[in-house]
């Protein structure tokens, strides 16, 4: 065991790194997909293309649900430990 690994809890540190990357980038990307879905749904509705509007609407809804789920999951894990 090296001095560095004796002092630093590498498991905890790595956990912070990968959770931050996954949660931070994941939520941003999924939310961006939601913004795309909402915007495209509105555009398709105005262009009188209801099927495409519904599909983009579903994409936006699924993305927003995923964002909310990620946030609730994160808070629940923190509160229960």
């Amino acid at each position: 065991m090296t001095l560095a690994s004796a002092i630093i809890d590498t498991h905890a540190l790595l956990q912070v790194v990968y959770v931050s990357l996954l949660a931070g980038i994941g939520v941003c990307v999924v939310y961006a997909v939601a913004v795309v879905g909402i915007t495209r749904a509105q555009e398709r509705r105005r262009a009188n293309r209801p099927r495409a509007a519904v599909l983009y609407g579903l994409l936006a809804t699924a993305s927003l649900v995923a964002c909310v789920w990620a946030i609730v999951l994160g808070i629940t894990i923190m509160a229960t430990k």
């Binding site: 540190l13 912070v16 931050s20 964002c67």
Partner: protein
């Protein structure tokens, strides 16, 4: 009797520090939301205050780290805790005065470690805990937030590249309501716990809590949560201006990614008990969101000044904490020294506030550019 009076003084000082922490760090939480006009300033500050209060109840792991992981809890005395708090408070007031977003957390830890070194020597400081739980995470966290925000903003721009700017901006402004809320929650979770840890240390020093079984009392959680929430509500526009408008000119997508990156890093660190600096993390996120769009969008000179303030925080607060302890013991070995210092520091703080009122700043949001 003297011990009880000193304990009361330490708790009041700790709560005052917690108030200044909320006051000082309001900027971290709300600056990006305000600068992109996602939410009006007063509403943003009110939301941040409420969620800071709620966040303080989520976890106690950081408080445990402060109370047991950095200095030897059994060797702590009330004058040491008091001197540490004064070191941190003076650094906070000084950086607030010049408008620099430095770390209240590291000021607090530096102050307590400095006072401990002056009082008991190096053997009473857990240098392994200080290095492994404070210094290394402190260096890693802003870089991590920078990376998360930079990658996220690049991907976000790619995904939304073909959208018209107006609807995309509206979407990310709405998203900032949630990312700002998460950041407020994260701030309350991590920062309020530091004061809880210090008050718990004081209770150990006074004998109210056994050093062998350190636990944070519920009343400490409630008072610390209330103090940081009140401080956040009162707010400080000076640092909001630096963080939200002067480092980069942000659009709503950048604000959203910076806040989300900051919240993710702070919450993940709180989960494993790292007393992280919200200030460092959010500034890292803001700079990352700027650099991810265009490196020249970041005002690197100002970012460099902030970095220098960060580097100076731990040693300066430690030096002030040590100096305060020495002066306090020179004045009196009992409670008189801390009371004289408390009165002096209060007068200096009041003077700083009065001088700043002469040059009062009001928030003027920058234009969204996207």
């Amino acid at each position: 009797m003297h011990s009880d009076a000193l304990l009361t003084l330490v708790i009041v000082t700790a709560l005052a520090f917690d108030f200044t922490n909320g006051f000082h760090d309001t900027a971290n939480v709300v600056a990006t939301s305000i600068s992109t006009r996602a939410i009006p300033p007063r509403a943003a500050v009110t939301m941040a205050a409420a969620l800071n209060f709620v966040g303080a109840f989520i976890s106690l792991k950081v408080a445990a780290t402060i109370a047991t992981g950095i200095v030897a809890a059994g060797a702590v005395t009330l004058p040491i805790v008091f001197a540490g708090l004064i070191g941190a408070a003076l650094w906070n007031v000084a950086t607030w005065y010049v408008g620099l977003p430095s770390s209240s957390s590291h000021a607090l830890i530096g102050g307590v470690v400095g006072a401990m070194l002056a009082a008991k020597g190096a053997s009473a400081v857990h240098f392994d805990g200080l290095l492994g739980k404070v210094v290394v995470p402190a260096m890693l966290a802003p870089l991590l937030a920078f990376a998360v925000a930079a990658i996220a903003i690049v991907l976000t721009y790619r995904l939304t590249a073909r959208l018209r700017p107006g609807p995309a901006s509206r979407g990310f402004r709405a998203g900032q309501l949630f990312s700002g809320a998460m950041l407020s929650l994260a701030h309350g979770t991590n920062d309020a716990q530091k004061t809880m840890g210090v008050i718990t240390l004081a209770l150990v020093a006074n004998g109210a809590i056994p050093a062998s079984h350190v636990a944070v009392p519920t009343w400490v959680v409630i008072t610390a949560a209330s103090a940081i929430a009140l401080g956040t509500y009162v707010g400080g526009w000076r640092i909001i201006r630096t963080l939200g408008m002067r480092i980069i000119k942000m659009d709503p997508a950048q604000g959203f990614t910076a806040q989300t990156a900051g919240a993710a890093v702070v919450l993940a660190a709180s989960h494993v008990g790292y007393p992280l600096s919200t200030t460092h993390v959010v500034a890292g996120g803001v700079i990352g969101a700027g650099a991810g769009k265009r490196l020249s969008a970041v005002r690197w000179g100002l970012a460099g000044n902030i970095a220098i303030a960060w580097i100076l925080t731990l040693p300066t607060a430690a030096a002030v904490g040590a100096g305060t302890y020495v002066v306090s013991t020179v004045i009196s070995s009992g409670a008189l020294g801390p009371f004289v210092i408390a009165a002096t520091v209060s007068a200096v703080g009041l003077l700083a506030v009065l001088i700043r009122r002469e040059h009062k700043l009001t928030p003027q949001p920058a234009d969204a550019t996207r």
